[in-house]
């Protein structure tokens, strides 16, 4: 009594049992569900002609440098190799795949479709409720700069989400060239552009107004910037509004492209899932064209992101337009589980329980059944364990039934969870 509980906590040996913050074990039903979702997404990607590629978990830091990067340098896990080169755990899958394309397919000039499932790592602050290692599944389509490719990737995202079991979601699409074109036309400095970008990104339009009041910018362009939040519902109207006020070729092209995207998505039949938002900004530096993000109920972040990055592969030495998508499986799992769209138990497999003397019979039965696609687990019966205990065990583990071999020609079939 009266002892300090805190002092009693064992901080030595018990430390081996838990993972560091930000990473987690996935096991049991959760793991089964995750693999199921992953497979569903993977199958969709493959059915669209994407072929698998695997790249290493860590690469040289330069692969993810500022021009190519998706996360800030300080948010990457870094370490050194023996030659004192800086290495990082990949924070994103796209730059390594772009590197592969420039290296292994440097003469291929027709469509190239690659897909992957892998873990990415971001060194975020502790205690912020965010994972530092997440599984991503995604696809990259190279050597195709058409608007059909844009639309296919958005449609593919919708199909992946549907096949994963999700029912309600919204994909928001925009174009990186829209904001860049306007900023260029206005002639903002790099610093002001960055400020404006971050304000628009956080939908802080009173801040945008404040900033624009202090910059020299034409009345027309200012009107466009301030109108951005209301441009969501009617694309044609928005385009007319912008065309009357901007002369930027880049802006026109961006809007043209989104218009095409909207119409092709209709042909795919996914029109209801997609909204065009001109005010959407690319959060990754490498995006040059159409960008999109998918949202659903139950978690605070996007479950999928994607976009066109026509300049990235050339940074590795090959000119190739490209567009990609990434589905964050862990985010998707959170959403599915909070929307109660996941199974809550697994029941599978048969146990063959045999005494030592009947080992040969058991092995033969097991082989036969496995050949027929059954999941079979062999358990040698111990004379000191009562039969009841095996039944309890099977129940705990979610086993369908137990086949108990009593003698050469007598088998008892106990249904457990069927």
């Amino acid at each position: 009594m009266g002892q300090d509980r805190y002092m009693e906590w064992d901080s030595s040996g018990g430390g081996l049992l838990h993972t560091p913050g930000g990473v987690k074990d996935t096991y049991g039903v959760l793991c089964a569900n995750k693999l199921k979702v992953q497979d569903a997404v993977h199958n969709v990607l493959r059915s669209y002609g994407f072929r698998d590629i695997q790249t290493p978990a860590f690469e040289y830091f330069d692969i993810f440098s500022k021009e190519r990067g998706t996360v800030a340098s300080k948010e990457m896990f870094k370490f050194f190799d023996r030659g004192n080169n800086t290495l990082v755990l990949r924070p994103d899958m796209t730059p390594p795949i772009a590197r592969c394309v420039a290296k292994y397919y440097k003469d291929e000039h027709m469509q190239l479709r690659l897909c992957y499932i892998g873990n990415t790592f971001v060194n975020t602050d502790k205690y912020k409720g965010k994972l530092q290692e997440v599984t991503q599944a995604g696809a990259e389509l190279f050597n195709d700069g058409s608007s059909d490719a844009d639309a296919e990737m958005v449609a593919l995202t919708a199909e992946c989400l549907l096949k994963s079991g999700l029912k309600e979601f919204q994909i928001e699409a925009g174009h990186a060239g829209f904001f860049n074109g306007l900023a260029e036309e206005a002639g903002f400095s790099e610093k002001d552009t960055a400020k404006l970008r971050s304000l628009i990104e956080s939908k802080n339009f009173f801040g945008v107004e404040d900033l624009l009041d202090n910059l020299t910018v034409s009345k027309e362009l200012k009107e466009i910037f301030l109108k951005l939040p209301d441009m969501l519902n009617n694309l044609d109207e928005a385009i007319d509004f912008v065309k009357a006020r901007s002369k930027s070729e880049m802006v026109y092209k961006a809007m043209e492209r989104l218009k095409k995207l909207e119409s092709i998505i209709q042909s795919y039949g996914f029109g209801d899932y997609v909204t065009i938002d001109l005010s959407m900004l690319s959060n990754y530096n490498y995006y040059t064209g159409v960008i999109f993000r998918a949202y659903t109920y139950g978690n605070g972040e996007a479950v999928a992101t994607g976009g066109r990055y026509d300049g990235l592969v050339s940074q590795f030495g090959k000119e190739a337009p490209a567009i990609g998508l990434a589905i964050v499986i862990d985010q998707l799992m959170t959403a599915l589980s909070r929307q109660k769209l996941l199974g809550t138990d697994i029941v599978q497999g048969i146990i063959i329980l045999y005494p030592q003397s009947l080992r040969d019979v058991a092995l033969k039965n097991a082989e036969e059944m496995r050949g027929k696609g059954k999941i079979v687990q062999l358990v040698r019966k111990s004379s000191s364990v009562p039969l009841e205990e095996y039944k309890e065990y099977a129940k705990r583990m979610g086993i369908e039934r137990i086949l108990y071999l009593k003698s050469e020609d007598e088998t008892e079939d106990w249904g457990i969870l069927i």
């Binding site: 309600e168 919204q170 939908k203 802080n204 339009f205 009173f206 909204t275 949202y295 659903t296 605070g300």
Partner: protein
């Protein structure tokens, strides 16, 4: 209908916000009972939920999607540095983030030498001294009554919110530099903004009208 959940920073800000919401027809009778021990309040009819939390936690609830909308001071938003939509300046709770200290500390602020800075806002203090002033500073995190620090010699200056400046004055301190103006803001979760777009934009629109009136 899905609920829209509000996270409000406890205290004056919450009272003020509830007043504003009432003006646009969003009420919560349950919340007016000051003796209640309930943590979460519901308006079933209109589909709203409300809860009060410590100001510094509001951005956390909103970023992670536990609340759709939050009302909190800009000081907390900057300090927490979370990914949020900051959609509206409510215009009340106006004050400034300042560097304060005894008048004698002014010299050290200007000559760029190492300076000790106490603050409840280590993030803002660090950002200001490192990236804006380019001065090396030793930031000391405190949890309250920051004005004490220069008086007892824990630090040369403090970074804190200043409303009228009377607390500073009474303790022989003054505002030395101004970092930025502050006021109450409406923040919205990124996903909620997309998934409940119509309801949330209407709400913001209505609030905006009430404020400008």
């Amino acid at each position: 209908m899905r609920y829209i959940t509000f996270a409000l920073a406890k205290g004056r800000l919450a009272k003020h916000t509830l007043g504003l919401l009432e003006k646009i027809g969003i009420t919560c009778e349950e919340m007016k009972d000051e003796k209640t021990r309930k943590l979460i309040f519901t308006n079933e009819e209109l589909g709203y939920k409300f809860f009060l939390s410590k100001a510094t936690d509001v951005p956390t609830y909103v970023e992670l999607g536990a609340a759709d909308i939050g009302v909190v001071g800009r000081d907390t938003i900057i300090e927490e540095g979370r990914k949020l939509y900051e959609v509206l300046d409510l215009g009340f709770g106006k004050c400034r983030m300042c560097v304060a200290g005894p008048a004698s500390a002014r010299k050290q602020l200007n000559d760029g030498s190492l300076i000790r800075v106490a603050s409840k806002y280590p993030g803002i203090a660090k950002d200001y001294f490192y990236n804006c002033k380019h001065q090396t500073a030793e930031i000391i995190k405190l949890n309250g009554s920051v004005e004490l620090a220069p008086i007892v010699g824990l630090s040369e200056v403090i970074v804190d919110i200043v409303e009228t400046g009377s607390t500073l004055k009474e303790n022989g301190l003054e505002v030395l530099e101004e970092i930025c103006p502050l006021s109450a803001r409406v923040v919205v979760n990124e996903v909620s903004m997309k998934m409940q777009h119509e309801r949330i934009t209407k709400l913001i629109h209505d609030l905006k009208q009430v404020i400008t009136e």
